[in-house]
Symmetry: C2
Subunit: 245 residues, 2 copies
Amino acid sequence: MDFVNKRTRSVAWSVVDRRRRIPEATVARLPVYLRTLLDVQGEGMTTISSERLAELAGVNAAKVRKDLSYLGSYGTRGVGYDVDHLLVQMSRELGLTRDWPVAIVGVGNLGAALANYGGFGDRGFPVAALVDADPSKVGTMFGDHEIRDLDDLPALVNELGIAIGIIATPAAGAQEVADRLVAAGVTSILNFAPAVVTVPDHAQLRKVDLALELQVLSFYGQRESIGASLREELGVAAESKESVS
Amino acid sequence: MDFVNKRTRSVAWSVVDRRRRIPEATVARLPVYLRTLLDVQGEGMTTISSERLAELAGVNAAKVRKDLSYLGSYGTRGVGYDVDHLLVQMSRELGLTRDWPVAIVGVGNLGAALANYGGFGDRGFPVAALVDADPSKVGTMFGDHEIRDLDDLPALVNELGIAIGIIATPAAGAQEVADRLVAAGVTSILNFAPAVVTVPDHAQLRKVDLALELQVLSFYGQRESIGASLREELGVAAESKESVS
DNA sequence: TCCTGTGAATGTCTTCACAGCC
DNA sequence: GGCTGTGAAGACATTCACAGGA
């Protein structure tokens, strides 16, 4: 990521690591494989080769094999991978055998959209609580949920088993929300606020920065104009490019 | 990241590269520096050291210096970087000296939220058009915009100078939308659909995958429980961790 | 003295290429 | 023969450490 989150490793981590360390870049691809395998399974296929999976997932076949090898040797030489078996192993590895209740903090434009967005609950991340710091919002209903106060976080964690906090507040409030989430025992945080947020070593933070993505596109987009004119000048044909989503 | 987008380099690209190639990882951090510098500027500071900028941006100081060195030598030894000057250079490099009109394709839950989300226009990416494939939506108004048909894309690109397309459709339609965007001349695409999308080499694709982020958190979250109990067992104190958003 | 700019060292990720098993 | 699993090579990114200018 990059936008890949930085992580220093504590002593305890390296102990865990020693058992079977999966590289960060691989972890970020597992969900893509998972989704692809679900599609493939839906079409009734029972085995799949690394080459085919690579094509569908938009990556290189060697990368697929290496990635899957971190999960264990679940393939059969000459045949490929058993789709069902791979799905089970992968779900287990990703911790998707249980639900992870989510709290959305900040019920503004973005927070409200995320609350309505069905894609979370479907995939094992039910939106269990909505939280806002604005007293005029607290106590009102949004969809099925009563909007709760930031102070209620510890109680919500206790009662509902909140495992993940989503920060959808303005930038200014993001760090405080993160601190409060961690203090309440939420150690996995997804930050949508356009601000740098810091969490203690035992917590996990990831970010989604919409403006950043557009700015990166802008960077390559303006280069593209240069590239395009050069290509024209030189009469070079465009090659094909693959990207993953 | 990682979810870092893959990019093969065409011949024309390497020509462009030779002038001054900025590593992908650096490009992804420039927007963070930019935002930080705007904050700092707002507080009236006129110069900043790499160390301070690093702290505010949540990265290592050496990384800041190396990143900024790709833009040219804009710092002063013994003093630091001139905030205003750096902002100008960085904006220019990122192509943010002009607006980049955006079309949002797919006006469902997420698309609607993105259309309402003010953060785009503020940062030079005005939402100039809304597009949907659903005939019952086409022709209706959403906010200031009439929802247009997918077939209108080429016209919209011509009339409004659409530079970036945002895909906010269900997974099934994502690839077709991407193809249509590219055919209409939109070479920068941000994909929110949970699907693998491929674009030709001359186009740029980035993705935001919400479920993926949660699944990665789930991976580390379940490890965390192991780590936590091990830490407890071993009596190891948690170190502090920094992450950027 | 302070802080940048950057070679060199280190660490991480990707890709190649092929041995080994079905 | 086909396809996985994996050492080894190569590309890329981060970090160190210090020379050198203000």
